[in-house]
Symmetry: C2
Subunit: 358 residues, 2 copies
DNA sequence: GTTAGCACTTAACATCAAAGAGTGCTAAAA
DNA sequence: TTTTAGCACTCTTTGATGTTAAGTGCTAAC
């Protein structure tokens, strides 16, 4: 907070906040006369007008046209979010729903994120984003091979407390069950904990050596492992409640709506955004602050979810720039925190207190 | 085809087809004069006008208002699709892309369906639906338990050639690895092939009896099995390319667009639609022919995908009622057939001809 | 420093007229 | 009997015009 950034008189702050609040409520440019109705602003419209002109000169407000009320600029929203926003506190109902979610008997991270996103969307009435990033350096802690028949097996890969991957492996020729089972042990021994890039040719040769006469089983299997580690789980973005956007007048403009729907299709762009973001706090991208040019009148709020140290997902809310920030931010924060807690608490609860979790 | 249904003179058919084609092309009501430009219709506008009036009386055409061109009614489209449509033949490019998809080295049904849907959407320029119905009576052929530590294990359930489910099972107390492994064998012995409903108390007691002293391991595991069989995989609908809708003028109308986006959110409704549909052919739901009232100006085309005898998914295209039917129908047909083939060919290819499939 | 007053700007809305497209009907032609 | 030309009629679309209302900027007075 450099003084130059924050060089607003208390009255200017009051007025700016009132304008942003009013614009969020009403959705329309707010004029000086309208503001005089608030008793915190016991000034004439002319005075407020002067202040507004100055706020505009400083870049916090904008003029749609020569003479209509003011609208906050990106900078105005930014200042509002960073400095003027008061804490939102959840209602009993919301806390109840959140607890419901968290105590639901499911540990699967994916579904947890999906449900939290759905909840976030319905609680805020904006569109929710359930984001599962491409695991940057996914590793497998343990391999297990399950023979299906003489020429195929299922490779089960345990990657962490809440994720298991399976792949069907089709073999070139026939093998004994024992050979297949051995494959699991050998893979675990040789390449557990490695990323896709670290599986080098020498490693593979070592595996083949250990498999002895069944060395031909290795090549197709390794292919699957490689797939599972890299390409396979290539990140996913789910959109919850896109239709909710339509209730806000900003999206009556077809071209703006198109931009938004387009963005929803470009999952890569969203994944990138999340990948580049700050892990430690709620991220708020107001209007065109981020690289995504199509969302000039929208805001994206999201927070990542970490398991151990690694980002394993994110939940987000996207809606009109004119959104209820305090509510959205607190909802996203609480929900993501709750998930992180559940997922990470997991390991700590090793001894298991009841049979209700699976 | 009762004669009464098909009681249209050759000329009426010609005119109806011309009207539907023209309306699909132009998107606007088509008038009598416009039609005279086609040389198959070597009549004056007045003659055509008379025929149009009769077609309207028969219910095949509609009048937006007293005097503007005609638009096909649902019945008109229906007749067009059932009786007037000529076969579309794919371009070399399209056949190439389709083959690309099918020869891609992935057997996972889910991803196959997703990719096919994406392809269908991009080939037709309409929105794609990737549908994986709630498996009505999912059964597990084989269970395998993988010990993780002394109080948790991963239960791997093989349900078919291309599906594997895994569940983390958290146990009440500590068990030996051997006990866990035995659990897999016992489960396979006792409840392989059963649906969720068929797992009765006697069955469970039998499992516990067979587990002997480790009987306490059964209860949490059964819970997971139950989850996996019923609730868990509760059907999924993915929408590909919702933004494509916006290029068609019918969706410039916000309320119509809203109906569509709303429909996309109500996955249950779509799942139901697919569940009720005919397995054996491409289903075409024109306008409000189906129960979904919100899609009066849209058409849904889809075909289910079967593995063995069971419906395991569907791919569909949804777009304006005024869509390119021959193209959409053939695309959906080809893609779903290709997937069915790949999936079902699977079993037949047991001996494996190369290592390229996993 | 604050306020009242007033001229000015602009969007939004309603009204109106003219243009255009297409029909239905009648009567004539084939 | 079928087809066609002609014409009056209906309804949408478009553009122009004027009016209203909201809100600003500025100046001068408090």
């Amino acid at each position: 907070m450099k003084p130059s950034d924050n060089d607003l008189s208390a009255r200017k702050k009051l007025i700016l906040k009132a304008i942003v609040d009013a614009h969020i409520d009403e959705g329309e440019p707010v004029g000086s006369k309208y503001l005089t109705q608030f008793k915190q602003l016991a000034y004439s419209s002319a005075t407020i007008r002067n202040e507004m002109a100055e706020l505009e000169a400083m870049g916090y407000l904008e003029h749609p046209y020569t003479s209509s009320g003011r609208v906050p600029s990106n900078l105005g929203y930014r200042f509002y979010v960073d400095a003027l926003l008061q804490q939102y506190s959840m209602t009993a109902q919301e806390i109840f729903e959140l607890n419901q979610l968290m105590h639901a008997k499911m540990l699967e991270l994916d579904k947890l994120i999906d449900r939290a996103t759905k909840l976030a969307s319905s609680m805020t009435n904006y569109t929710g984003l359930s984001i599962k990033p491409r695991p940057a350096s996914c590793t497998v802690n343990r391999f297990e091979a399950i023979p299906v028949d003489s020429s195929s097996l299922v490779l089960v890969m345990l990657t962490g407390v809440s994720t298991v991957k399976t792949k069907y492996v089709k073999l070139d020729s026939e093998f004994q069950k024992e050979e297949m089972i051995k494959l699991g042990t050998v893979l675990t021994e040789c390449i557990a904990g490695l990323t896709a890039d670290e599986i080098t040719l020498p490693k593979i040769m070592e595996i083949e050596r250990q498999m002895g006469v069944s060395y031909r089983i290795v090549s197709p299997a390794i292919k699957c492992v490689y797939d599972a580690l890299s390409e396979s789980d290539s990140g996913d973005v789910k959109v919850e409640g896109a239709d909710l956007l339509l209730q806000y007048p900003e999206y009556s403009d077809i071209s703006r709506l198109k931009g938004m729907l387009n963005l929803f299709e470009q999952k890569d762009q969203l994944l990138q955004l999340v990948a580049d973001a700050d892990d430690s706090k709620v991220n708020v991208f107001i209007g065109s602050e981020n690289s995504v040019n199509t969302m000039n009148d929208s805001t994206l709020v999201f927070k990542t979810i970490k398991e151990g140290g690694r980002v394993v997902g994110a939940i987000g809310i996207i809606g009109p720039r004119r959104m209820n920030y305090s509510r959205v931010i607190s909802t996203v924060n609480q929900l993501s925190a709750a998930i992180s807690e559940t997922v990470n608490g997991n390991a700590a609860l090793e001894e298991g207190n009841n049979s209700d979790n699976n």
